[in-house]
């Protein structure tokens, strides 16, 4: 998805910096298959999630030429259509598929508008709106990131049992973070943290979104 965006919009001045919230081992085959020509980085400790207060993937931040944030961390055009899939067959109803495609299209159109028009783009937020759109940051969130960092390090130095305690503490302290939850959850055969406990957690959202609605006109 981002390769096409990058090829089209690099000339008008857009760079794509993709960051994998993942272990290098898990991210490698995906990057090797996609062969991106944009900057593609590995973030095994989820530093970027901590720095920008992100809770899921994909999330994006728009940063201008001077390093100013013109759209803070938000869902990068994903939609909850996957929740409407038939869990036996994997088939997504046509309406959910249409909304999923629309969300992605509208998001890419917004990125294109910004890449071409810069500050004249209506999708660039003024400072007050940008601040207002930031998700809240609690003391527990900050503490969770510290435990997550510690847990990841302990895992790498072979202290798996101790690691699990800190990763579980991170999950408990920051329940809004799907990134922390899924990074530390068990995987299925496809390498996805999408077992019964994942679906139970998704179902518990009820009317709340898994992918927060992007605040763009017309976005489902």
């Amino acid at each position: 998805m981002w390769q096409k965006v990058y090829e089209e919009l690099n000339d008008p001045g857009l760079e794509v910096m993709a960051v994998a919230m993942d272990t290098p081992e898990a991210a490698r085959p995906w990057i090797e298959a996609a062969k991106p020509t944009y900057t593609s980085l590995l973030d095994r400790d989820h530093h970027v999630a901590q720095l920008f207060n992100m809770v899921n993937v994909p999330e994006a931040v728009w940063i201008d030429e001077e390093g100013r944030v013109v759209r803070p961390a938000e869902n990068a055009g994903s939609y909850d259509g996957f929740r409407k899939r038939d869990r036996a067959t994997g088939v997504m109803p046509a309406e959910a598929a249409e909304l999923t495609a629309r969300a992605k299209r509208l998001y890419v159109e917004a990125v294109r508008d910004w890449a071409i028009h810069g500050y004249r783009s209506r999708h660039v937020l003024d400072a007050a709106t940008a601040r207002q759109q930031m998700r809240p940051l609690r003391d527990e969130t900050a503490l969770a990131h510290a435990h997550f960092r510690l847990g990841c390090h302990l895992q790498r130095i072979g202290k798996g049992e101790a690691a699990v305690r800190h990763l579980e503490e991170a999950r408990r302290l920051h329940p809004e973070s799907w990134s922390i939850w899924r990074q530390t959850a068990g995987r299925n055969k496809q390498g996805l943290a999408a077992g019964p406990d994942f679906w139970q957690r998704v179902d518990a959202l009820g009317a709340r979104r898994y992918y927060e609605r992007v605040k763009l006109d017309g976005m489902p």
Binding site: V5, A18, V19, D45, A60, L150
Partner: protein, 136 residues
């Protein structure tokens, strides 16, 4: 030796963990945190964070300082493993929120697949779509 995980760094330092305290030589404080202990408080460049006048909780007569207590005093989380051999010093919610509210993208450097580091700052002068993904 104690491993201190701070910002994106991993620092090895001679230190002694004692329950929730992390004692290290005052001279090492700067190397680990960038902060230096001065009469006016804890200073990084021109900025100083005042410490309570009664400094007994933070510094000992032998020159050792309790980094964990100092860090928590500044409003940041300090957590450790059960052996006290590894500590993670995070950034507190208030400090993070105020940085985010400034709307200056914080810089970071991360490796690509070949281990080469790239920083956000290298892309200054261009618009950057910073976007995350994962295999999970």
């Amino acid at each position: 030796m104690v491993t201190v995980l701070i910002d994106q760094q991993e620092v090895e330092v001679h230190a002694a963990s004692d329950a929730e305290a992390l004692w290290l030589d005052g001279a090492d404080l700067g190397r680990v945190t960038g902060f230096v202990l001065k009469p006016e408080g804890l200073c990084k460049g021109a900025i100083c964070v005042p410490l309570p006048r009664d400094g007994r909780d933070f510094a000992r007569a032998d020159g050792a300082v309790d980094l964990a207590a100092i860090w928590r005093h500044m409003g940041h989380p300090a957590v450790h493993d059960e052996t006290g051999e590894v500590w993670a010093l995070g950034t507190g919610a208030a400090a993070r929120a105020s940085t985010l509210a400034e709307l200056e993208a914080p810089d970071f450097a991360l490796p690509d697949l070949d281990g080469r580091a790239h920083s956000l700052r290298e892309l200054r002068g261009r618009k950057v779509l910073l976007v995350t993904w994962a295999s999970w």
